[in-house]
Symmetry: C2
């Protein structure tokens, strides 16, 4: 394989050509300045071969997923993406063809989401391939949406539909009966490639009292929001929005909905709003062309509860995904 | 081992307690704002077990080296450190005791260099341990020191002494004769733990026309500066500052000086200045209590040349370290 400098010049420098403060990746550092009246929001994620992606996954998709999990974090914080730094640890079995495809995936999503490469580091490793992204976004004023602002009386809301990522994974492992080909492809695409809600995130400023992205499973992530806000969150199970494919599967297996709220890889935004701002939220959702659903409420107390259609409540023992103890 | 959230709460959250915009590492992102009149400079480095550090290296030192290579980059760009994001990919054989020591190293250097943890990500990996740091600094105005500003007629300068890192490594592999115990320890310490020139870096604004940190070897790094500036750089071999230990070794082996300018791990700053600013530079060096030496000059042309005491010049074929092709 070519040397580190050649790899950077050939595959990564072209990704920085529209970000002048990246200096063509020819310097030791980059500069970044948010637009006037904005502050920088930063988030970081690392992914490892064999843990977050598989050896044979297409490099374009690995690249896109890497950017999108960070874009989802920014969106949930109300920030508009600006750019990112990328660190790559490449094992010996990754060749230039792999890197070229990986860079193509980055390029496609840079264009789609309007951000540029700012810098990074490329090193060799005995393996596995490990990537890290630090992503920058701009938030108006000092107003990053936090996990901690939910108040008793607020409504609990979510963008899009829940559980598709988990159903997509199970579809790959063992196909479900009764789905159309389109529905099957939809679920698998939802698992493979997050659709970060970047359009609505910045519009939630001044509306949402707390927000976070749903990546570890709705119940677990709403639990984080409740904990950081010092409140209790109740999810009305019947209100949780399922996709048409999810609704088909629920007909065959009534437990589908309960599985959906524990499954990961949704990359939707869960957030709370004061009830009087519901109209403003609906206007924002219309503007962003994204479905938004009220799925519950915030109360005094602690923890997260699931309200069933018969009026009873269950408190889940534990939902979601923890990288170390699963 | 405890779960990801416990590890973060126990070992990493205390490192963020003095950076309010890190929100106690309890959110999905952090905010960062440079002081008024400053812009943000960002740099990223990744290190991998078995490549950049060894399995049995003390975790405190790995942590400090990780921060210091980034601090050195910031210093060479004229930026004052503000904070950093950290991504950790931990293999199964890293236990909480290891992480606790690693966090102690981070804490010590945070205090020493005045910066705080802003956020990051912690994931498991089948190994090797891989760490990434994205570090933020503040530079006055829009004036990050660049690799590309050197002009014919400028003087080529360097901070500190050159070659100690490389001599420290060779001392570890095969002890040299003739060194005092203090000198031996000095060289090994220079190899093990970089001393980033954070005090003088920001003072070089308005003085240096180009700058970069010397990490891959003086010749190679000056070559980068020359290439990005579109000039030729000449290093006067006799002017290259060696440490007292280096001078002892040079007496025993006259090739020591030539080896020194090709060796890595110096973490000094190489920079160029217009000759009329030499007095300003000396004042800055005095203020920062750091030795600065004029080691050559900038000419029209391309590449880097070594001027020998007899007046002849040699053009090195290739010096320094490239992660892929070494």
């Amino acid at each position: 394989m070519s040397g580190e400098f050649d790899i950077i010049a050939r595959y990564f420098a072209p990704l920085a050509k529209d970000t002048p403060l990246a200096f063509g990746l020819k310097d030791d550092a980059a500069m970044i300045a948010p637009p006037k009246g904005h502050h920088l929001v930063v988030t970081a994620d690392a992914i490892v071969e064999g843990v977050h992606f598989l050896h044979d996954d297409p490099p374009t998709r690995i690249a896109q997923k890497l950017l999108r999990v960070n874009l989802s974090d920014l969106a949930a914080k109300g920030a508009t993406p600006l750019g990112y730094l990328l660190t790559c640890a490449f094992p010996p079995d990754i060749d230039e063809r792999w890197i070229s495809s990986f860079a193509k995936g980055l390029k496609a999503d840079q264009k789609h989401f309007g951000l540029g490469l700012l810098g990074g580091d490329t090193v060799s490793s005995p393996g596995p391939a490990t990537f890290g992204v630090t992503m920058f976004g701009a938030a108006k004023g000092r107003a990053m949406l936090r996990r901690s602002g939910a108040k008793p009386g607020d409504l609990l809301c979510v963008t899009g539909t829940i559980g598709d990522g988990g159903l997509g994974l199970s579809e790959l492992l063992k196909p479900h009966a009764g789905l159309t080909d389109t529905q099957r492809k939809f679920l698998i695409a939802r698992y493979r490639l997050p659709q970060p809600r970047t359009r609505i995130g910045p519009l939630l400023h001044g509306i949402a009292s707390a927000a976070l992205d749903v990546s570890d499973g709705l119940v677990q992530d709403v639990g984080h929001l409740a904990k950081q806000s010092g409140v209790r969150a109740v999810i009305d199970l019947a209100s949780v929005p399922l996709s048409p494919a999810g609704l088909v599967l629920e007909k065959a297996d009534p437990d589908t909905r309960r599985a959906a709220i524990g499954a990961g890889d949704d990359y939707e935004i869960a957030f709370t709003i004061p009830p009087k701002l519901l109209k403003s939220l609906q206007a924002a959702a219309f503007k962003a062309r994204i479905r938004v659903t009220v799925i519950g409420r915030v109360q005094k107390g602690a923890g997260v509860a699931i309200a069933l259609p018969d009026g009873s409540e269950i408190v889940p023992e534990r939902g979601g995904f923890d990288h170390f103890t699963r």
